[in-house]
Symmetry: D2
Subunit: 346 residues, 4 copies
């Protein structure tokens, strides 16, 4: 049994993670921590867990927990995780960070975009970017995995094959992304008040969202080309789900069939990536509650542009599901374990 | 392995049932049928099943299927199931009907409320009302189970303990029920058009909803008292969930503690019924995607009335989850099998 | 021109009120105040007002404003309004309080239910309960109007005719009420976070909601009978709207036609009350953005109980619309002025 | 008084139009027609109109109605309007077509994109494209106005100033558009069933939506440059609202201030276009129920691209509001008449 702990279990990704781990046959949850709710029962905070996971939330003592856990999941706000982790902890246990602190390779880039100091830059070299389908080999031996951002997961999976194959212009990539409200977390904010965000749509953080450098870094790495993207997130009145609409410029004449074959080449053996048939469009509803990423691609013959779509559940493939997928890879067990459920529909 | 078939797999309860069965370790799905979509792949109709259940939908030949299936689930509109089932089929296989045709014991009552002829009234005596927590012993040996209606499940579970213990007036029961839109099914209707039912609430079928006699019949049976209820359903702008608010009149002076102890007496060992603590109110969100029924009870000291609430997912405990729970009981396996998942939240 | 001021213009009812007043031909808005946003433009807080009402929000100096305003609307939390108003202010201007402080006639009842001290109990005798259709004559000459609560408005309008005519038992009234989220105001709270209240329903403040004594007081006054109600509010995932489902016990045998005639007697000349035809059920969607209250009544012949429904927009007829209706009555102008618009649908 | 008729009053845009016209001081509604509901009362179909517009729906005899109406609004499906209008009707009355039949100047382009024959191509030369802010002078004298499509209105208003000023590449325009569900109309379709489209997002009609040639035609006309766009519509789980996100490529180095000044040059005197301040993003919620179009523009300094956003209510500025604005212009009355209300929020 893998002994697992969640640091910050009462945010949305922490809670979803607790659900996946609690139904994982090879996992025993040894600790759930919470800064705000320590001492309370987890199932008093998330009442769906009543009768399933009634354990008490603990204080956030990561070093102590690292001694009894085989793997620690960090589900903390950015800027906090980097202060909680150090080499001693990493020598005791494996760490999967669902936050942003270990995703960017360059300390400077991190500090510019996140406007805060990185508290353990010495660990950045240890960190493996945990985009399972593209970094599986490195993840296998990692002790510190930086679980990708929700937008980054959907964006990179949607765009990477064409970029890696040299089909598209690496400096003319437009990603118009749409996310459900849970992406903003459980904290209180006027923007996530029901009356303020239901029945409306807006863009936010235009040309300044922090997943931008993360997407560029990984796309550049995968394709070995310096990549520059326009990334624009939008808030959608739904709880979960991310849809990415990517507008891509082919560098040469290429047919839709050839384009589709490239996706199939990379993804046909990937269980969690469903490359759709014909003109089926990815819809977030077919992924909610599951670890799937649905992708399809179109070509606008009038303008020549390629349009690719990717849909995920931001809290599963975009966060906690991928974190468990990473754990499964790191512990050399079936990558699909506890992640095989169908999306909840309707 | 239990060989299971679903007749009418492309309605909402059929599809949810397919999901639960496909993750059931002891079940092999041998047939999914559909009148409208026979010949198509199930995962082309419900695209969340892509990569999980890509089987082809068959014609609806129940007799033929009864020869290869250990259990057949009927997920058909009322008035249809009674024409599909006969003694020969029942001698071949067990049947669990998710529709209304075998719930009411009296042919006349059925025909009055459903305004259609019953096509196999001779089977009514064979049918067991599949409200698991109250009819478990009978279900064990049943060959034909009438799976309870969604409203009926929530209403009976919420009211039965007090009625059985003789605490409340059996002729002064008011049930104000609220349901998500999936209760109306997948068929097209102006009332379920997004623009017509979102951001609004209404009552419907006032004093005439067909679950009324079903609730009365079972409450009368459980309590051995002739029971008469006011039942008023309301349509709520959400996909899933039923909340029942029951207003009950005590027959004598009784404290809230004594009332709560009655619920505990009946439900403390029932895995799928969570009697909540203190003044926690049942909320549908804590049950969505799960087989739980959350219940709590209050007393209004000013008026003396007891107010009890029950919340379920109408498609799980109110339909397909309970159907699988019935199957587990009928096949003498762990009642919780494939039903242990936590509700999907947020 | 009537010079009007709104104290607390940046809550939801204040903002809706600003909209109605700004399109009122006989009104000039002389001041909008805000504790949190003084100094900012109103249209920076509510951006729908850009180009329509770009005035600056002022400090909340009620005495000063009373010298320039013909009418002051108070849209403040309960417990605050009673500290802002005094006899001097009332000698300068008319006051319409959208909050709860002047609704209950008895200081003790107020302090018991609101758990705070009343700061101007000497004014309670001056206050007129502003339920326009039932208190029109008193409102005409009032200097201080207590605008009814949203739930109270819908509940009283729905039940009063039958109670006044002695048809129903005054001690066996069950009101199951359902409200959209805006009823909880614009303040931040986990319960109104989009992800926490969308796609779910719950009851709240069971047997303890503060509109209970308000409804009882007014129904007792109208009917001249001591009235005791069970009142249970529920939170519905929609922005606006209240639906009241009232379960009433007739004291004698009475036909549905006779019952309907009683409603017609009281409401047929009331512009803002639409008594529906036949079995049409009130739905909140037909009232949103308008000052209408839609009512209909049913009889359950099996149980003998009468079931009455009333639907309003909680922010219009349940708050700001009724406040303007009160102003129109107080200033002896057409009661419908600035309130004649159709509900916004879809 | 202008005598107005609506042909096809029971679709969503017909109903919204009826609401705007019924509160218009200079308009008398002389006829509402409906193919499906002729003989019924309009307020039985749209119950929000009870007490406001209880007229009977007539048969759809356009010639007959043209003799008594000063203006006829056509709110019909495409392909139908072109068969209902002819020169005789146009000699009797002015016509404003809310559908697509007279928007495209070239019969061939129409027939290619709409896959149906145009039944009155001889009238195409008469038709004026009714985008008020850009075609006001021509509208003044028009007898036949083609009211722009909802997506087209938002897209053109958002992009036109920069294109007309020669700032951006006319062949590198990407428009990612998002619409509420009412854009799909009131007809029944699985895609607009509440359970199928709530809590989800998808793109549709990728590279094939019929507003594409309409946007290109008008942008080409305004800018005098052949314009080619990528247009991708998305369905958003909300009732009303369109947000357009436009990705534009500057042809030369230009600062954000210069860009903003171009918008101000064209729009500062336009009442219904609100060019927002600073980094305020257009949100559909601030426009719902109003005739406003909110616009703002950003520059991504890293990629050089310009990102412009436009938000409207698809049923008001995108349909019925703009139709009334056109009528006001055609009849030489204040363009804002009956269109001055604030957006309904929350």
């Amino acid at each position: 049994m893998i002994k697992a702990a969640i640091i910050g279990a009462t945010g949305y990704s922490g809670a979803v993670l607790a659900g996946i781990l609690s139904s994982h046959n090879d996992v025993e949850i040894v600790s759930l921590t919470s800064k705000s709710y320590a001492g309370k029962k987890f199932s008093d905070i998330y009442k769906n867990f009543k009768g399933i996971l009634d354990v008490e939330l603990e204080e956030q003592d990561v070093l102590k927990i690292s001694k009894k856990a085989d793997v620690i999941f960090l589900a903390l706000p950015h800027g906090i995780a980097s202060g909680e982790i150090n080499k001693e902890i990493l020598s005791n246990t494996k760490v999967i960070d669902l936050g942003a602190d270990f995703r960017l390779k360059e300390k400077d880039v991190y500090e510019t975009w996140y406007k805060t100091q990185h508290l353990s830059a010495d660990l950045l070299d240890n960190a493996v970017y945990g985009l399972c389908e593209w970094e599986r080999e490195k993840i296998k031996n990692a002790s510190l995995v930086a679980n990708p951002g929700c937008y980054a997961t959907a964006s990179i999976l949607t765009v990477a094959p064409l970029l890696k194959e040299g089909v598209i212009d690496a400096n003319d990539i437009i990603i118009d992304a749409k996310s459900g409200v849970s992406g903003a977390g459980r904290g209180l904010d006027l923007g996530t008040h029901y009356c303020e965000c239901s029945e409306s749509i807006k863009a936010y953080k235009v040309a300044s969202h922090r997943h931008t450098p993360e997407i560029e870094q990984e796309l550049s790495f995968i394709s070995n080309k310096n990549t520059l993207i326009n990334f624009t997130p939008h808030l959608i009145p739904m709880k979960r789900g991310i849809l990415v609409s990517a507008y891509l410029k082919p560098l040469f004449n290429i047919s839709l069939d050839e384009i589709k074959n490239i996706y199939k080449k990379y993804y046909q053996n990937e269980h969690f990536i469903r490359f759709l048939s014909g003109t089926d469009v990815p819809e977030t509803r077919w992924t909610i509650g599951s670890n799937f990423c649905d992708i399809n691609v179109f070509k606008d013959d009038r303008t020549g542009r390629i349009i690719a779509f990717g849909a995920i559940d931001n809290l599963v493939k975009g966060a906690s599901g991928q974190a468990v997928q990473n754990m499964n890879i790191m512990f050399n067990i079936d990558e699909k374990k506890s992640l095989e459920n169908v999306a909840v529909f309707p």
